[in-house]
């Protein structure tokens, strides 16, 4: 009789305990993105922070993803109110400069912030090597399934999203991904 009771209690308790253990080991904020491997959503966004030569673009210029076909694109979403963005700012700026003579294009996209605050933040942190664009009404950010900032999308020469980095990007991670994407040849012009 006691064994029978223990079996019934166990049959109910173990699945529940198992669920709790799964829940404790699983970070609810760690949500897999469906985007890697899919074509990068197109965008045409206006430059508000010019960057520095040789990577700079004039203010008011439009950065179009369609114009960057055959290049590796590193798209970093950031905001001046985002503390973690400070951690990666210098890293990304330096990594971008190290690829200046390669077909790699870095672009920052401002997320829920004003261009003035963005420019002030860049000046305060000692400038940025690559240009930043503004994303009115957050449409591009939603197109990239953004949860928060910083998030960095690395787009291959084939126009597919190769990788998404959530949180501050490290130089090692970005370099490794960009190098591996550069190693694959650019698709022939006119290919779909």
């Amino acid at each position: 009789m006691n064994w029978k009771r223990a079996t019934i209690a166990g049959a109910f308790a173990f699945p529940i305990i198992g669920l709790f253990i799964y829940g404790l080991k699983h970070d609810p904020h760690d949500i897999p993105s469906p985007l890697p491997g899919k074509p990068a959503p197109t965008f045409a966004l206006e430059v508000f922070a010019p960057g520095q030569p040789p990577l700079g673009r004039p203010i008011g210029d439009t950065v179009r993803l369609a114009d960057l076909k055959g290049q590796v694109v590193v798209l970093n979403f950031w905001a001046s109110w985002c503390l973690a963005c400070r951690d990666e700012h210098r890293t990304l700026s330096e990594v971008a400069r190290s690829y200046a003579d390669k077909p790699v294009h870095f672009v920052g996209s401002l997320y829920q912030d004003t261009p003035n605050a963005g420019r002030q933040w860049i000046a305060e942190l000692g400038g940025q090597s690559y240009p930043s664009v503004q994303d009115p009404r957050t449409r591009t950010a939603i197109d990239y399934g953004l949860y928060g900032v910083p998030e960095t999308f690395i787009i291959g020469r084939d126009g597919l999203i190769a990788h998404k980095i959530t949180g501050p990007a490290s130089a090692a991670a970005v370099t490794q991904i960009v190098d591996s994407l550069l190693a694959t040849p650019a698709p022939a012009k006119g290919a779909p």
Partner: protein
Amino acid sequence: MKPTSRVLSRVLSRMLSRVLTLAAVIVVVVVGAARAQTPQVSPRAAAGDSALEARTSAVAAQLRCPVCQGLSIQDSPSELAQQMRSLVRDQLADGKSPDAVKAYFISKYGEWILLAPAPHGFNLLAYALPVLAVLGGGLAIVLAIRRWTSGTPETT
């Protein structure tokens, strides 16, 4: 002093009724003025707007706000949720069906963006478990009552 108090109460009640009448007149005038000031919208446009608003709300209530805990983009006041809601409205206004709008958000955020999981595969567990729990509980109660009532001699 009874007559004086009666007179006083009569005066007071008369004053009160006058004040109430005046207040009612003021309310009518103010409300009338406010009505007159509201811009006249053609009834058809208003109907179209409210229909689109209702469809937007219906879709937005099913989509999860990415920066909240268990809130839909319909209920969340956060900036991202509001911008996502305006995107839902724009897509519906462009002629997309509610399912196509949901499919757009799923393609960007995964099925996680749906507040209620789609009823297939492992997700079915979320729908089946409450029913199973109620059935199991009911069964346990029936069995317990049977055990308590059967075989026990009446004490009265």
